[in-house]
Symmetry: C2
Subunit: 402 residues, 2 copies
Amino acid sequence: MFSIRTRAPGSYARTGTLKLAHGEVRTPAFVPLATKAVVKTLEVREAEALGFDMVLGNTFHLFLTPGHELIRTFGGLHEFQRWDKPIITDSGGFQVFSMGHGTVADEIKGRAAQFVGERSGAILGIEEEGVTFRSYLDGSTRFMGPETSMEVQASLRSDIALVFDECTPFHADREYTARSTERTHRWLDRCIAWHAEHGPEGQNLYGIVQGGVEEDLRRASAQEVVAREYLGGIAIGGTLGETKDQMFTVVEWTIEELPEGKPRHLLGIGEVDDLVRGVELGIDTFDCAMPTRIGRHGMAVVPDPEKRWRVDLAKARWKESDEPILDGCPCPSCEPGYSRAYIHYLLKAKEQTAQRVLTIHNLYYLQRLMAELRDAIDEGRLPAAAAAVRAGAAPWELAGAR
Amino acid sequence: MFSIRTRAPGSYARTGTLKLAHGEVRTPAFVPLATKAVVKTLEVREAEALGFDMVLGNTFHLFLTPGHELIRTFGGLHEFQRWDKPIITDSGGFQVFSMGHGTVADEIKGRAAQFVGERSGAILGIEEEGVTFRSYLDGSTRFMGPETSMEVQASLRSDIALVFDECTPFHADREYTARSTERTHRWLDRCIAWHAEHGPEGQNLYGIVQGGVEEDLRRASAQEVVAREYLGGIAIGGTLGETKDQMFTVVEWTIEELPEGKPRHLLGIGEVDDLVRGVELGIDTFDCAMPTRIGRHGMAVVPDPEKRWRVDLAKARWKESDEPILDGCPCPSCEPGYSRAYIHYLLKAKEQTAQRVLTIHNLYYLQRLMAELRDAIDEGRLPAAAAAVRAGAAPWELAGAR
C-alpha cells in the first residue's frame, strides 16, 4: 500500500505514494482537516482543486453528530461529504482525553506546561474498557472504547483508520504515562482484533506510538506498534514536549525504531518549520488545524520565520494597506489581488468571506510547500530547499534553491 | 446607454441591454446584493461565474465603514472589491430612513402595516438639508443628504448611482407621504445638480419614484422624475402596499407614466413570482436580499408556489433525507449531489459552508430564471413561461413551456 520512490541522502526524508482504496496520496503530504465532515469555510471537494489528495475526518465528533449510523446509511463518509478521494480518520482518542486532560492540545504544541486539572468534568471515567464521558452537544452520557472507535470508523469507511489510544498530557508523570502507554497497547490489540474481523474491505489500520517524552517509553511503544504486522502504517501521537527541539527529539527516537517500509503519520503538527523538519525526519503525512484555524482568526500564512510564518490581517495596521495578502502567491485567494485593507475590512465587518479567502490561501501555501519539498527530495536538493524555507523563501521560490 | 431588443406583445415586458462603463447588463436581470462590498458568504467575483452581469453596493453602509474616502484611494469600489463588471449603488436613503421608520423593510414586502414608532432613536433629525443619525457602528453622529450621497457614490465610482430619497413607510398618512414626496423631488434636483458638476465620467444617475400607495402621488412622482432628462434611468422605490396585488398595482401606475426608452429598476423586490410579474410589467432590473438572506437562514429556493418558492433545510424533517437540495438543478451547489441530510447537519453544526452552498444555489436559481425569461420574451413565449413558473416549473424547464 506504500511505495517509496526516492530516499534523500543523509536524511530520513523520502518521497512515495500511498495507494489507498479511493486513490493515491503523494507523500510527504499535508492532510487538511475535515473534522466534522467539512473543511471549515470550504466544501470538502475544494481541497482537490487546492492540490490535496486526502482529508482527515474525526471519529469523536462524527460519533456525536450526525452519528456514524446515519453516515453509514449514506454508504460512508465519502458519500456523505461528497469526496471521492482518500480519507484518514482520527480515532477520537485525542478528543475524548482532551476533555479530561484540559490543555492537552496546547501542551502538544508546547504552549503550556502547567497542570490545570479536569475541565468541565466531561470525562466521567477512564477504565480498561474505555472512556465514559458527557457529550458536549446535549450532556448525554456516552462511551467510547477501542471497539467503538473501530466500529465508528468502519461505518465511516475511511481509507485509513487510526487505533484508539490515550493521548497523555505533558503534565502526566512518568508512572501515569507508563501505565497509560501500556493500556494503549492493550487497546491496540483490541482494535486490531475488531478490525481483523469486522473492518471494511480496503481500510488500512494505523497504530499510534505514545510514551510521552520519556525516551525508553517512546522507544518501547514504537517497538510494540512495529511488532503488529497487521498495521498498514504508524502514527506518532501524544505529548511531544515543551519545545520544538524536544518535540523533534521525541519524533527522532520514534523514527529510529520504525521500519522503512511503512508510512508514518505525525498527528496534529503543521507549522511551516515543523513540516520541513518532519519531512527531514521521514514523516510521510501530517495533519493540523493550523491553516484553517488561523485563517478563521484573520491570519495568513506568509514566509516570515520571525513571525511564526503568519500575519494577522485583523490588526489595525492593515486598515489602509494596498499590499496584497502575499505578493507573488499564485493561490486562488491571492490571484484576484485583494488588498490587505479589503481583507481587514471584511474581518472587521464579520463577513465570512474573509475567513474563507484566508483558509484557501493558508491551505494552498502548505500544499504547495509539500509539493515543492517532494520535488526537492526527488531532485536531490532537499537541504537547499529546507534551508531556503527556514531563511524565508516562499514555497514557489524553492525550485530555484540549490 | 439602454437599447431594447424585443418587446413582448400584449405586455410591458421587454429584453434589452444596458451599456455601462464596466460592461453590458442583459435585461431583464436580477442584481445580487454586494451591500458591504461583498456578496455575503461569496467573493464578489463569484457572481460572474453564476451568470450575473452586475451587483449592487450600498452607499449608507460603505459610508460608515470602511468609508468612501478609503475606497476612493483604491480607485473606487470595483478596485476595492475586485469586480470589474457593472455596479449599481443604492443611495442610502432607504437605510437611513429604515432606522427611523422602524419596519419600513417589512412593510415594503407587505408583511406589516402597523405603526411601530421610531426604533432605537437612530435618526436624530430629518430636515430639508438631509438626515442626521447615529451610526450603528460606534454611536457617532453622522449626516447624510443628497450631496453626501452623491459624493459617496462618486467616490465609489459605481456605473449607476441612485438619487437620495426618503422611503416613506406604509403607516405614513397621505399628508406625510405628499410632503415627503415633494421633498424627495427637491432632493432629486440637488442630486442632479451635484452630479452634473462633480459626477464621475461614465456614471449614470437614476431617479427614484416615490409617492406611497396613493395613485395621484405615485403618478405625479413618476412625472416629476420623467421630466428630468438628465437621468439615465428610473427606479421605483418606497412602500408598494400591503399585498402583492397592491404592490403591482402601484408598479403599474408608475410604469404607465414612464417613457419606454429609459431602463427601470424595481428596488428591493426579488421573490420568484414577483420577478415574473415585474418582468411582465416592464421592469428591467431588480435587486433583493432574499436569495442571500434566506440562504444564510438555511433555506433553498425551489419551484414550489405553495411554499413561497422555498424549503427550510434546518427543519428536523430533513435530518435523514437523501433527497438532493433540488433534483435536476444544474447549479454548482447541486452538482456534487449533497443530500438534504448533509446540508441539515452542517446547518445544525453551524458550519458556514452550508450558508455558502445555499446562497450559491439561490442566486443561481434567480439568475437562471431571468435568463430563461429573457429567452422566452425574445422567442415570443413569455405567457407560457410565466404560467409555467406560477405552476411550479423550475427555470431550466421553461424552454419547453410553449
